[in-house]
Amino acid sequence: SQKIEQNSEALNIQEGKTATLTCNYTNYSPAYLQWYRQDPGRGPVFLLLIRENEKEKRKERLKVTFDTTLKQSLFHITASQPADSATYLCALGTDSWGKLQFGAGTQVVVTP
């Protein structure tokens, strides 16, 4: 069966450290992968997109890697801040029309 797995346990991290989140998938052949941030009671907010032929993407303090052989994406938040506390969702795009398959998300808590 198709699965998208993200760490279900919350990631507690100290301010200034790097947070690393994983997204593993099975029985999917994604053309691209996106990461979103979601705050309680709000809709997801787009952060980064990486295509199947790309290994790494960066945006400010964010970095995402995509390994189609391992069927895994890693999402890094460097120099984390309390304002980075939120749930982070990975989403796979398997066609060209924009339909997304989401993981359940990982909650990140950054403490001062």
């Binding site: 709000r42 907010v45 969702l89 060209s96």
Partner: protein, 115 residues
């Protein structure tokens, strides 16, 4: 520039009733997707509308239907509500056409509670 708007914010219905949720996409966007997000889960794709047609559909029963209007706004209708339909319903807009890898802009959602 207004982002994606959804109405109502919250809704309480009883089993068997019908509900209509509304979405206005971000200015310039022509594609609207609807997602259902249960508590503690990621959003699940319901369907997508482009050029007033349902272009794709997820694994949801026919009780879930929708519509897109010429101004690109959209409605989600759910008939014969079940307790399990209680969730946050999210609308996302994007630019359509092929190779639509574009980011999706999500609205704040409508919290539906079925009693």
């Amino acid at each position: 520039d207004a982002g994606v708007t959804q109405s109502p914010t919250h809704l309480i219905k009883t089993r068997g009733q019908q509900v209509t949720l509304r979405c206005s996409p971000k200015s310039g966007h022509d594609t609207v997707s609807w997602y259902q997000q249960a508590l503690g889960q990621g959003p699940q794709f319901i369907f997508q509308y482009y050029e007033e047609e349902e272009r794709q559909r997820g694994n949801f029963p026919d009780r879930f239907s929708g519509h897109q209007f010429p101004n690109y706004s959209s409605e989600l209708n759910v008939n014969a509500l079940l307790l399990g339909d209680s969730a946050l319903y999210l609308c996302a807009s994007s630019l359509g056409g092929s190779l639509s890898y574009n980011e999706q802009f999500f609205g704040p959602g409508t919290r539906l509670t079925v009693l």
